[in-house]
């Protein structure tokens, strides 16, 4: 369909434009920002695939991001560094050293597999029960990551991942994510799932197998999250389980909610807006701290602004910036009207 192509073109064009602009400017800071943004895009789109189409809030997403990151860490840390970085690693995997690109894919697949095994029964639940189980799942995943010293080095920081994520790779993944998310939304599964979001009883009565549909979306979503996590791991090169808990869940959720959970466009714009605001506030915070205006360090300002923005958006515009229509549809409509008149 033409309008979907327009949506994909505009959104990918946006990402490409950013890559070109960053390359032209050549400032290291922007480079980091752009990579960060692309990784966030993959994660937010992953969450959108599940949350936007099924209408169920999921907290577990960041847990799958963690699985992806740790999988790739175990597979790619150079053998001679493993002794330091992961002293208790099982001997069978200790000798493995894969190319990061393969490992990133495997990280995504691992997250998807875990999601597939764990989540099927959970998909029967809706509303508050579904949210609580996803929250519980996040806590379970976090506890496991925090304590499975053999693989994750416990609560300590894991380090030594090769720095493989550059801007092109991240942007490529982000564009792929945009295309997949739009394709899934318009596919038969996506359509059925969206009908179940709008009216669960009616969709069920028409013969939609709601748990299976949600399950498929959840697996795809976990795949995105795993890949996003793996990319992030190769970007940041050292991390600890703390990186995959409530604070990050909150940021990703904030991006999706502000942009609009129901549309891919919303997810993309939400990620862009929040990342840019976040980084500038970070810089402001750092500036204040460096100038020593206050006696104590200023921390948490960014999160406060994000929280206020989320509440404001939900009160004033509950669907987010792009509540129902993708950008392609919106543009098509405007030009259509012009032709009429």
């Amino acid at each position: 369909m033409a309008k979907n192509l327009v949506t994909i073109t505009i959104l990918s064009g946006l990402i490409l434009a950013m890559v070109v602009a960053t390359n032209l400017l050549g400032v290291r800071l922007f480079d980091r920002l752009a990579i960060n943004l692309c990784i966030s895009l993959v994660l937010v789109l992953g969450l959108q695939v599940f949350m936007g189409n099924s209408g169920i809030l999921s907290f577990a997403h960041i847990g799958f991001m963690g699985i992806g990151a740790y999988t790739t860490a175990v597979l790619t840390i150079p053998i001679r560094m493993k002794g330091m970085s992961l002293p208790d690693l099982y001997p069978i995997v200790a000798g493995i050293e894969l190319s990061p690109y393969v490992a990133i894919l495997l990280g995504g697949l691992m997250a998807a597999t875990v999601a597939a095994v764990v989540s099927y029964p959970l998909m029967r639940l809706s509303d508050a029960a579904a949210v609580i189980t996803s929250f519980a799942l996040l806590v379970v995943l976090h506890t496991v990551m925090n304590n499975w010293s053999e693989v994750t080095n416990g609560p300590r920081t894991i380090f030594g991942l090769p720095r493989a994520t550059d801007l092109n790779l991240a942007a490529g993944a982000a564009i792929l994510a945009v295309v997949t998310a739009v394709a899934f939304k318009e596919s038969r599964t996506g359509l059925l799932l969206r009908s179940s979001r709008d009216d669960e009883v009616a969709a069920g009565a028409m013969g939609a197998h709601i748990p299976r549909l949600r399950w498929q979306a959840f697996i795809l979503s976990a795949l995105f999250a795993g890949i996003g996590g793996a990319l992030w791991g190769h970007f940041i090169t050292s991390f600890s389980p703390k990186a995959f808990f409530l604070k990050e869940t909150f940021v990703i959720l904030g991006m999706l909610v502000i942009g609009g959970a129901n549309t891919v466009t919303g997810a993309v714009f939400g990620a862009i807006i929040v990342t840019v605001t976040f980084e500038s506030l970070r810089a402001l915070e750092a500036g204040i701290n460096q100038a020593k205006i206050f006696s104590e360090q200023v921390i948490g300002l960014t999160e406060i602004v994000l929280a206020l923005a989320m509440i404001a958006v939900l009160v004033l515009r509950p669907g987010g910036l792009f509540a129902t229509y993708e950008i392609g549809t919106l543009l098509g409509r405007r030009t259509g009207k012009k032709e009429d008149g």
Binding site: I132, T133, P318
Partner: protein
């Protein structure tokens, strides 16, 4: 045994504070843990004032109540009619807001909270030596539970609240003012959080911005075990969880003990799947507003 009772009392109060809001609105208040944090920081801020400890504690509990009502006004009322997801997100956002406000305006480091002597002494009771704070916790839990059940059974407010929990639309039609009821539920939730805060901080002796997370998780598990909709269930769930925690602490081998939280939360998921109503079924569910 006293350990179980005292831990259970604290857990039960936490769970009760969460379930009173859930019962009426069918919505989880993720900002509940932060009410505990608010009370803790009030204690810290008033500690320089030289007031007697009981006055400070009363002020702290009052602040928790105020924060509870504020949760309703900021996070729940504007979006209540729109969608479940929206409310859950706003309450999550409000919780982050409070936590980071504490980070920003006070400090990320733990702050000491003044405690009266009695919290740190040990006494001999029925042949066992135990910290006096355990006995205080038990006593506080008993008093609060008694007060609470009197409130719910004997006063107009309590009856109206129970009616609202059973069938909100019908209760409204019969002249129960919806906003007032919901706000009072939040106020009671704040009161319980305030009391819990005193007992909880009595164990730790300091307050940090993230202090609310653990009680929130505990309240979560306890309510799910006991029954999301039933007040008795919440209390029962609290005691059961305390019993489970204490037993696991003694019986699990050291390697597995680290994963205790993973076990309890898997249990939560399983319970929600097989017996979503929990051990004690609440009143028949009505429509959410």
């Amino acid at each position: 045994m006293i350990d179980v009772l005292s831990l259970g009392g604290a857990y039960a109060l936490m769970a009760l504070g969460l379930v009173i809001v859930y019962g009426i609105l069918r919505l989880v208040n993720f900002a509940y843990g932060e009410l505990i944090m608010v009370a803790g920081y009030t204690m810290y801020l008033t500690s320089g004032s030289g007031l007697p400890w009981l006055v400070m504690a009363a002020v702290a509990v009052l602040m928790a109540i105020v924060a509870g009502i504020a949760t309703d006004y900021v996070a729940f009322r504007p979006v209540r009619a729109k969608s479940v997801t929206a409310v859950l997100i706003t309450s999550f956002a409000f919780s982050t807001l409070l936590q980071n406000a504490a980070l920003l305006f006070i400090s990320p480091r733990p702050r000491n909270v003044p405690l009266p002597e009695i919290f740190s002494v040990t006494v001999q009771f029925a042949g066992v030596i135990t910290p006096a704070r355990n006995l205080i916790t038990i006593a506080a839990a008993v008093v609060m539970l008694a007060l609470f059940s009197w409130l719910m059974r004997r006063t107009v407010l309590g009856i109206a609240m129970r009616a609202a929990a059973t069938n909100f639309t019908m209760a409204r039609m019969l002249g129960v003012p919806a906003n007032l009821i919901i706000s009072s539920a939040f106020a009671i939730s704040g009161l319980l959080a305030g009391v819990v805060s005193m007992l909880w901080i009595g164990r730790i002796g300091a307050v940090v911005p993230g202090i609310g997370l653990e009680p929130l998780l505990i309240a979560f598990i306890a309510t799910v075990i006991g029954g999301m909709r039933s007040l008795q269930g919440a209390v029962l769930g609290g005691f059961l969880l305390a019993f489970m925690d204490t037993t696991l602490n003694f019986t699990l081998p050291q390697d597995l003990l680290k994963f205790r939280d993973a076990f309890t939360f898997s249990l939560v998921i399983l319970i929600l799947l097989w017996r979503p109503q929990g051990l004690i079924k609440g009143p028949a569910s009505g429509q959410r507003t």
